[in-house]
């Protein structure tokens, strides 16, 4: 089974309900789209992520009621350095969607999704703990897995695998 090339053209993917809905809401919110290996990815402009998620959650054609996961990828030394990844699931439509937000390496911060999904709480704390990405408006942004007094953020690419000795 050969891999089909990824589709990144917005025009071709306009038919997807989530893309159509976001474009109708705010064309500036969609920075890019990608359809690769049967998975849909939308890159959302960083200040619109909470609005986009609330919209996709409530819209009956999308119905992404379930937040599967939040994580982050560090593209050090490239800029924008961080990509925060949101995996949404629609239980009724049996569909998944990936949202991405790009953040710069200087002071990575993005709006918290806890007002939309209460379950974003631990996921965002984990990303803050391991990557140092701040989530503004989070009710309790403290380290989750590492000890309270830990220095640095271990999953960053400039953090050595063996740790600092």
């Amino acid at each position: 089974m050969a891999l089909a090339p990824a589709i990144t053209d917005v025009e071709q993917l306009k038919g997807h309900p989530a893309v159509a809905r976001l474009l109708a809401w705010n064309p500036a919110a969609v920075e890019g789209v990608k359809f690769d290996r049967d998975e849909m990815t939308i890159t959302v402009e960083r200040s619109n992520i909470r609005g986009a998620c609330a919209l996709l959650r409530e819209d009956p054609a999308c119905d992404f009621r379930f937040l599967s996961d939040i994580t982050c990828v560090d593209w050090f030394p490239a800029e924008p350095r961080f990509e925060v990844i949101y995996h949404l699931l629609s239980i009724s439509k049996k569909e998944r969607l990936r949202l991405k937000v790009r953040l710069d390496g200087e002071s990575p911060a993005v709006e918290s999704l806890t007002p939309v999904w209460a379950g974003a709480n631990y996921f965002e704390r984990e990303v803050f703990d391991l990557f140092g990405v701040r989530f503004t408006g989070h009710p309790y942004l403290r380290r989750l897995l590492m000890p309270e007094d830990w220095q640095g953020h271990p999953l960053r690419k400039d953090y050595p695998v063996e740790g600092y000795r």
Binding site: M1, A2, L3, A6, D36, R37, E39, T41, R65, F66, L67, S68, D69, T71, V73, D74, I85, H87, L89, I91, K94, R96, R98, W117, A118, G119, A120, N121, Y122, F123, E126, L130, R143, L144, L145, M146, P147, E148, D149, P154, L155, Y159, V161
Partner: protein, 401 residues
């Protein structure tokens, strides 16, 4: 050890309340979960789980390994269902590679995955009942679990950390009498489930300790990201095996048990019914096991047979290259989720085109399920916390990774 001090995670509110520290070395927290309770008499005002005591940085370690070397690491995340984690990881890598898996390997995976679910649910049932005070059930459950572990031992050489699934198929052909042994086990196992149910389901003490305790509504469950039996016990009819099938699950007939009450008893009933369904899937997998190879035909990715290595130069070269250099995976990203015994287990893998994953992230079902604990327990009694923790079936290895 700032983690161990009474950090101000919970400040005492009024002078009526006190802070009680439960764990991390509490037997009913199933490992190293620390729970901070603010209590007013016996009633819980606030509850806050504190995790991270078992954090081993597996996600960071994965970034330094070849793709095939990550498989043994995945066993160690959720040590009660190693093969479910293996499956999720190899499915994700196969999706990145665009690799087609032969039918026999897919059916072997389903068979082993369901045995793993039985294993995991038996440990849950035994320990959960023991937490609440029914000590006998533990001995009964571990009697059958031992049989499952012997089957794992026979097929992979390991009782717990099996690493049996590999990218492109499964590691080995099963031993000659393996299917007969599984058939024998599946034949008598449903009568053993009746035994457990005889001990618990109609037991008045069990019902008093579980019915109406630690309720979770479907809306709260979905908003907090709960999945698996925790969510199905609250009336949400969703199972990834049926609704978003992977590894040939669409070819199996099974029911998805759903209960509406959302209490500890409902979650218990869901899981016990799942034991029966898993046993049915095991029998179907045995009856319909296809013939054919157990590994995909992908010389650069799948290790060649030992016999070929001794006779063919090409096979020897491929073996050497896979072991020393790994195999390159086309750049891209995938998210693969499977239904683990605890809920949605997901692997998000980013490849940059080299032989080592750029990023591996595990979506732990337990981490999200644990967030439901305050909703379940606040306003209830301390003794119910133990029942609630047991009913969401936590495994700290998976939560902390």
């Amino acid at each position: 050890m700032a983690h161990m001090t009474a950090t101000p995670v919970l400040e005492p509110g009024q002078d009526r309340t006190m802070i009680l520290n439960m764990g991390p070395q509490h037997p009913s927290t199933h490992g190293v979960l620390r729970v901070l309770l603010e209590i007013d008499g016996e009633t819980i005002v606030r509850i806050m789980p504190d995790i991270g005591f078992l954090h081993t940085g597996i996600e960071k370690t994965c970034e330094a390994k070849f793709y095939q070397q990550v498989v043994p690491l995945t066993d160690r995340i959720d040590y009660l269902c190693p093969m479910t984690n293996n499956l999720c990881y190899v499915l994700a890598v196969e999706k990145l590679l665009g690799l087609e898996i032969p039918p026999k390997a897919q059916w072997m995976r389903v068979l082993m995955n369901e045995l793993t679910r039985i294993n995991s649910h038996l440990v849950w049932l035994g320990t959960h009942a023991m937490d609440i005070g029914a000590l006998t059930v533990f001995l009964y459950c571990f009697r059958e679990r031992e049989e499952v572990l012997k089957l794992f031992d026979a097929i992979s050489g390991q009782r717990m950390m099996t690493s049996y699934f590999r990218v492109g198929g499964v590691a080995l052909e099963p031993p000659l009498d393996f299917f007969d042994r599984v058939r024998k086990f599946a034949g008598y196992f449903s009568s053993k489930i009746d035994e457990y149910e005889n001990l618990l389901t109609g037991n008045p003490i069990w019902m008093m300790r579980t019915k109406g305790v630690a309720r979770l509504s479907a809306e709260d469950g979905i908003a907090l990201g709960a999945s698996g039996p925790t969510l199905r016990g609250s009336g949400v009819d969703f199972d990834l095996r049926r609704d978003m099938p992977y590894s040939s699950y669409e070819k199996f007939q099974f029911k998805v048990p759903v209960k509406q009450e959302g209490d500890v008893f409902a979650r218990y009933m869901c899981r016990v019914a799942e034991l029966r369904e898993s046993n049915k899937i095991v029998q179907q997998a045995l009856d319909g096991m296809p013939e054919g190879p157990i590994k995909a035909d992908a010389p650069g990715v799948v290790l060649p047979d030992r016999e070929k290595m001794k006779t063919q130069m090409e096979a020897l070269i491929y073996h050497f290259k896979i072991i020393t250099e790994g195999f390159a995976v086309p750049a891209g990203e995938v998210y693969q989720a499977v239904e683990s015994p605890r809920g949605e287990m997901g692997y998000y893998i980013v490849s940059d085109g080299t032989a080592k994953p750029y990023r591996v992230h595990m979506r732990a079902a337990c981490l999200a399920n644990l967030q439901t604990l305050p909703k379940m327990c606040e306003g209830r009694l301390i003794a119910d916390v133990v029942a609630a923790i047991g009913s969401i079936d936590i495994v700290l290895g998976e939560i902390d990774r």
